[in-house]
């Protein structure tokens, strides 16, 4: 008879993969969010179009299909034109997750930049900042704290979405759970532990995002 504690080692290995997947795809997703969100507000038309297309395509299609496309379809398409586009599962997973979350994040970034008041832009102009300096030194620092609650949601969403990566044979938490279940036929115990593990990771992530939010918005909390 196996005890539930015997599941912990393989599940922890899976959880570590999940953490890494979440970490890298959230970082890359954040970069894509800023690129897409700032791009949507760019005065340069092709940049704007590119950003809009990116956001609409990746918001408007299923993450699972994006994942399968990058992992299964892209290599075949590559072969057809004679290029090797075979991605390792980790790369495909991180890429699909971050492209997806970046598309949602881009809308958050755009909205937050647009919520910076006109008065701030006027003050920036009166101080003779260039449009670029205004974006980086005046608008973004005020917009970022505005983005944090939504980013926090997206990061947790992203953590949970990593489970889909098990479907392209990535050994994450969901993948290990499936293996254990197949072997021991003990669904209840395995999935209960997995549930708590995801919940625990989500909790830690929320707390980290809260700390980050407080850090970037220090000036907002300051009171006389």
């Amino acid at each position: 008879m196996v005890s539930w504690t015997d599941y912990l080692v393989p599940l922890s290995q899976g959880a570590w993969v999940t953490v890494q997947l979440t970490f890298w795809s959230t970082i890359l997703g954040a970069i894509l969010s800023f690129a897409g969100g700032i791009g949507k507000l760019s005065p340069i038309r092709p940049v704007r179009w590119l950003s809009v297309t990116y956001v609409e395509v990746f918001r408007g299609t299923s993450l699972l299909v994006q994942l399968f496309w990058l992992y299964f379809a892209l290599p075949v398409a590559g072969d057809a034109i004679g290029v090797n586009l075979r991605l390792p599962p980790v790369t495909a997973g991180v890429l699909a997750l971050s492209l997806n979350i970046g598309a949602y994040g881009a809308e958050v970034v755009r909205g937050a930049i647009q919520s910076v008041s006109k008065a701030q832009y006027e003050a920036a102009k009166a101080m003779n900042f260039t449009p670029r300096q205004t974006l980086w030194r005046v608008a973004l620092p005020q917009a970022i704290p505005e983005m944090m609650p939504s980013f926090s949601n997206l990061a947790v969403q992203n953590l949970k979405d990593t489970a889909l990566a098990s479907l392209i044979s990535l050994g994450d938490l969901a993948f290990k759970a499936e293996q254990l279940r197949n072997y021991y036929q003990d669904s209840t115990t395995v999935y209960t532990i997995v549930l708590f593990m995801y919940f625990g990771m989500a909790l830690v992530l929320s707390v980290l995002m809260r700390l980050l939010e407080r850090n970037v918005g220090r000036w907002r909390g300051a009171r006389r």
Partner: protein, 258 residues
């Protein structure tokens, strides 16, 4: 006579079908302290906003220091100003806003050093020296490391004045600098502006409802009504012996409580 610091030549400004400024001719000499008074909607703030390049003009021409503000010369012809030209022209102007518009995410000191550093290219130390000098001028030295929302309205507006001065403008534009303040905080801001009005080289153009103050510090007062200057003269002329009926009515209405 030398070229005026500011000259409006038949300036038109309309928002859609609404004409804010109509055929406006207006001059401010170098070093002159001019106050614009008038009812709301008379276009007085628009004059300042056009000078700060926050609003463009729909007709006529504006000159600052003899150079066209909203136009530039290209091949002997005046064409609409490029962003580069506007940036060049803006170096001569500083503005103080009614609602302060400080950068809330920067400390007081940073509000004063950011633009001198990144726009004018001053070193960190130079910018800090300049800022500290100005903070002393406006009496806020001990608040240098606070954020704007830790200050009172009057203190914030003094930072606003110092921030504009940090760019060493030739012309200071004050757009109702005390209108957003609680009455007990107006005095400290007016004191700072009064101090500046003694600087001979600095040209000042102020829109205000503080009539007593306007009378005290202005070389000249302009009464705006319906997008035009209705009457212009020394404070004594305008407040003591207004000629136009509209001026009399306006002054009577605003000075009633005084």
């Amino acid at each position: 006579m030398s070229e005026p610091m500011i000259r409006f030549d038949k300036v038109e400004k309309s928002f859609g079908t609404f004409n804010v400024l109509k055929d406006l001719d207006f001059e401010v000499a170098r070093g002159e302290k001019v106050t614009i008074i008038g009812p709301s909607g008379s276009g007085k703030s628009t004059v300042l906003r056009i000078l700060m390049t926050l609003e463009d003009i729909t007709g006529g021409a504006v000159y600052v220091g003899g150079d066209p503000l909203w136009h530039e010369e290209k091949g002997g012809k005046l064409v609409p100003a490029s962003e580069g030209h506007l940036r060049q022209m803006r170096t001569q102007l500083g503005m103080v806003f009614q609602s302060f518009n400080l950068f809330p995410h920067m400390t007081v000191l940073r509000n004063l050093t950011e633009a001198p550093r990144v726009v004018l290219g001053l070193s960190k130390a130079e910018a800090k020296d300049r800022a500290e000098e100005l903070l002393e001028l406006v009496g806020l030295t001990e608040h240098a490391h606070k954020f704007p929302n830790q200050l009172s309205g009057g203190q914030q507006q003094r930072v606003g004045i110092a921030r504009a001065l940090a760019m060493r403008p030739k012309v200071m534009l004050f757009d109702e600098p005390t209108s957003a303040l609680d009455p007990e905080l107006v005095g400290e801001v007016l004191n700072v502006i009064r101090g500046l009005s003694e600087e001979h080289d600095l040209t000042m153009l102020m829109v205000t409802h503080e009539m007593r103050f306007a009378r005290e510090i202005s070389d000249r007062v302009c009464f705006f009504d319906g997008g035009k200057i209705c009457e212009s003269g020394t404070p004594e002329e305008i407040f003591g012996n207004p000629k136009e009926e509209r001026t009399k009515q306006f002054l009577h209405a605003v000075l009633e409580g005084d």
